[in-house]
């Protein structure tokens, strides 16, 4: 066995005044190996990466032993000189590729700077290295997709392009170890596939080892050779990736595997609909058009003639990549945006949002962002009760407590401020608030995307219960095919503002008719088939998985 690139022994990290973020964590990474570090929020996985990279704030107390191949001494020792480690031995890429680039500098300037930090070269030579690196990450200066990338500013690039540039910056110093902190979480499925592919190519071509931090079990299993499962700062389980997801030995891992909803080709979904599907009750979006003023003049069409129907007691999944217009369509459905053309109606009567506001409500992605931080949860839920249902004080309190119980929250939580609740609790409170208006339809815009898998399962269960009990119709907007597959009766695929394909979820996802849908499905890491093996198999005939 070759010498590991990194050996971590007994790492503990503690921030003043709180429980240890990481406790006694040991791991090793071999050259050319991909180690997936998986855990839910607060498990200490990002803290571990920051400790390895030496990026923890000074107040954090770090203990343990960290050894790098080709370097003497424990890098966690207090007086240890980390000179030449950052960027040269260890590089790092981050979750939000937009935030990891300085918005006021060109791409070229930012890459040149890193090149000059690690190599003694002139400005012109640095730019040549930069162009070379951009080419290596798939942003070429010449050829069919050529653009002058180095003169672009971050805001002119897409998320995937920015992540490629962050990878290019990480490659400058020829590091032996790349730390990847949820690098694809903020990206669309097809772009995620391309980035994972690029990372694995670097592993194959340059022998770089990667520690890949993610909360997504399917991604972890697809890219990782080995997986370490973290919970509350301690390792629960470690082993070969396939073995972990097929037969987890730790109870926590088993729960994680059970709660994760990977997209699979086979699994049929959908429930028996409560078919009262007469037109008189359904939410009908008819030929909706909406365009926005674009930067520098002109207009961009966000939604270009989409028709959609949600029956009471039915869950309709709306999937598509960012920019496909799915969110705009959802906002039009609840009256947050006005359609330029087309009609929103329930049954045969067009919706007048001044009057019928309570008929359709919305649940947003980030629960913390959609609560007033200075208002108690009960106050937030009481607002629609007062404004839309005209209740008085005592009645509001009673109804609000009832709603909290409905969504499975302890009514005592109602007197707390939003930030005192966990993400899952708050999202349930957000659902309670949406229900307070007494809606017949809910639009859920990525409502479970920011939740940990175990909590996600609870929220999905809640939504399904409301569907059955109250006959609520749901328009479920999501980029997560695994979730849509489990929950939606019918699914609509959107791209560039138009409908690509629609149909019963099981049929659509198991036998897509349109090439775009097929491409979308292919790019989802299932976790069942290791990405690396698949890559090795297909690179022979020149194709890449997910391409």
């Amino acid at each position: 066995m070759t010498e590991p690139v990194l050996t971590l022994d007994g790492l503990s990290v503690r921030f003043p005044g709180s429980e240890p973020a990481v406790a006694d964590l040991s791991l090793t990474v071999a050259p050319g190996e991909v180690l997936s570090l998986i855990g839910e929020s607060g498990s200490g996985k990002s803290t571990t990466l920051h400790a390895i990279a030496g990026l923890l704030p000074p107040e954090a107390k770090v203990s343990g032993d960290m050894r790098l191949a080709g370097r003497d001494g424990n890098l966690f020792a207090p007086d240890m000189d980390r000179q030449g480690v950052a960027g040269r031995q260890i590089a790092m890429i981050f979750q939000n590729p937009g935030a990891s680039l300085n918005p006021v500098l060109t791409i070229g300037a930012q890459l040149d700077e890193v090149v000059r930090a690690h190599r003694a070269v002139s400005r012109t030579e640095a730019r040549a290295v930069t162009e070379e690196l951009l080419d290596a990450v798939g942003l070429p200066r010449t050829g069919p997709q050529a653009k002058d990338w180095s003169r672009a500013y971050p805001h002119q690039l897409s998320g995937g392009q920015k992540q490629r540039i962050a990878i290019a910056a990480a490659l400058v110093g020829d590091p032996a170890l790349l730390l990847a902190d949820e690098p694809t979480t903020a990206l669309d499925a097809t772009v995620q596939a391309q980035i994972l592919d690029l990372l694995l190519r670097l592993v194959d071509e340059r022998g770089i080892a990667i520690i890949f931090v993610t909360h997504d079990l399917a991604v972890a299993a697809s890219i990782g050779d080995r997986i370490v499962v973290l919970k509350d700062g301690t390792a629960q389980e470690e082993g070969r990736a396939q073995q972990i997801i097929k037969s987890p030995s730790a109870a926590y891992t088993a729960r994680l595997v059970a709660a994760s909803l990977p997209f699979t080709k086979e699994a049929g979904a959908g429930h028996d609909q409560m078919q009262s599907a007469s037109d008189s009750d359904a939410l009908i979006l008819d030929n909706i058009h909406r365009s926005f003023a674009a930067r520098g003049g002109g207009r961009v069409q966000a939604v270009g003639g989409v028709s959609l129907r949600v029956n009471p007691g039915e869950i309709v999944g709306l999937i598509g990549e960012s920019g496909s217009g799915k969110t705009t369509l959802g906002r039009i459905a609840v009256g947050l945006e006005q359609a330029d053309l087309g009609r929103v109606s329930i049954g045969f009567s067009p919706l007048d949002f001044e009057r019928d506001r309570q008929a359709i409500q919305m649940v947003f992605q980030d629960p913390l962002a959609c609560f007033n931080p200075r208002q108690t949860v009960l106050g937030a839920i009481g607002h629609p009760l007062r404004c839309l249902r005209g209740l008085k004080r005592a009645a509001i309190r009673k109804a609000a407590y009832g709603l909290l119980e409905d969504v499975g929250l302890d009514p005592a939580l109602g007197d707390r401020q939003p930030h005192q609740l966990s993400g899952g609790q708050l999202q349930r409170a957000a659902i309670a608030r949406a229900l307070a208006a007494g809606p017949r339809f809910l639009v859920c815009d990525e409502a479970v995307a920011s939740l940990d898998v175990s909590i996600r399962a609870q929220v999905l269960e809640l939504l399904d219960r409301l569907r059955i009990r109250d006959g609520l119709g749901l328009l479920f907007i999501s980029h997560d095919l695994g979730v849509v597959q489990r929950i939606a009766d019918r699914t609509v695929v959107m791209r560039h503002g138009v409908e690509v394909e629609a149909g019963p979820t099981a049929a659509l996802l198991s036998a897509p008719k349109q090439p775009y849908t097929r491409q979308l499905l292919a790019s989802v890491p299932s976790g069942e088939r290791p990405w690396r093996a698949a890559r090795a198999a297909v690179t022979k005939d020149g194709r890449r998985p997910g391409a």
Binding site: L55, F94, V104, L105, R123, D148, Y153
Partner: protein, 342 residues
């Protein structure tokens, strides 16, 4: 920088022209409103230039007053005076100053350079020192240096400008005799152009520093807060992870984005360019616009006052166009015509 644009595409130049044109057009209603407002405000004031003149010479009868009012067009009704006022403005004629017996525009243009020179130097000096001190304080956040800088700036902020100016005069002009007591240039001196410039600069040192020090706290706090905020952003962490030297992290990745609020504040402060200097101009006997405005008020020279206010408005509009352009230089996201990449 190597990526500096060597050629300006015609579309970019065209966009720039469109931007300037739009801003100038936007300024017109502002100027009209200010002109009307100025006229209305001055109408509300008790007494006119003739009252002030008669009070000044100590005597006069109703006949003389009426004759003078007639001569200066002060006896007409409100409507006709507004008509005269607005007709003159459209012709860029600011009127005639009774107190100085000269055209208002001549009087203003004579004083304008003095005030501009002093105020612009003071604001730029204040912003520069503030940016540096605020940056140092942010980097040493919570340390003794941070506390010292913040406290010092606060003390200066709380000190009245005239008092600071008087202290400066006593110390540097009277005791040490390094600098002149007041005025803008040495009288009766026949210097060449170089010595004359240096002479003006020597006279400006005390007033400019006095003004700059009173503004300093604002810029220190602004820069400190912005640096701390930017320091927590993702690209700073990413730059450190890439091994970018700390010096560059601070200057390029923290300092430069943090300049944006400072530039905004310079634009806002330009509004005080004219008014904020009355006290300092008085303390240092500088013949500037602030002192002029004071005289105009005390002499009830309403045409002069209106002219000064309008000149001030023009200046603010002009400075804000410059600030918007500077914003584009600092932040490519608001740059004119920032769109597709090449």
């Amino acid at each position: 920088m190597p990526e500096a644009k060597s050629k300006v595409s015609p579309s970019r130049a065209a966009r720039f022209a469109v931007f300037l044109f739009q801003r100038v057009v936007q300024a017109i209603p502002v100027l009209i409103l200010v002109a009307i407002g100025v006229f209305g405000l001055l109408e509300l004031a008790e007494g006119d230039a003739v009252d002030a003149y008669l009070a000044g010479i100590g005597a006069g009868d109703a006949g003389l007053a009426a004759e003078l009012r007639d001569r200066y067009g002060l006896g007409d009704g409100l409507g006709s005076r507004f008509l005269t006022y607005s007709t003159r403005l459209v012709q860029f004629d600011l009127g005639y100053s009774i107190a100085f017996s000269r055209d208002v525009s001549t009087v203003i243009l004579e004083r304008l350079p003095n005030t501009l020179l002093m105020m612009i130097s003071a604001i730029l000096l204040s912003a520069s020192i503030g940016v540096i001190l605020g940056g140092i304080a942010a980097m040493r956040k919570g340390g003794p240096l941070d506390a010292g800088i913040t406290f010092g700036a606060l003390i200066l902020n709380a000190t009245p400008g005239f008092w600071l100016g008087l202290l400066g005069i006593i110390l540097f002009a009277v005791k040490l005799r390094w600098l002149p007591i007041g005025g803008l240039s040495t009288l009766d001196a026949d210097y060449g152009p170089v010595r004359a410039t240096l002479d003006v600069a020597r006279h400006l040192v005390l007033p400019v520093f006095t003004l700059a020090l009173t503004y300093l706290a604002l810029y220190v706090r602004l820069m400190r807060g912005a640096m701390i905020e930017v320091g927590e952003s993702g690209w700073v962490l990413a730059a450190r992870a890439r091994g970018v030297p700390e010096r560059q992290v601070v200057l390029r990745h923290i300092g430069r984005p943090a300049l944006l609020p400072v530039v905004t504040m310079i634009g806002l402060q330009s509004g005080t360019l004219l008014g904020g200097s009355v006290v300092i101009e008085t303390v240092f006997s500088i013949p500037g616009l602030g002192a002029l405005a004071f005289e105009a008020v005390s002499q009830r020279d309403l045409q002069l006052l209106a002219g000064i206010l309008l000149a001030g408005t023009l200046l603010v509009v002009f400075v804000n166009i410059i600030v918007d352009l500077a914003y584009g230089l600092l932040d490519p996201r608001v740059r004119l015509g920032a769109g597709e990449i090449a």
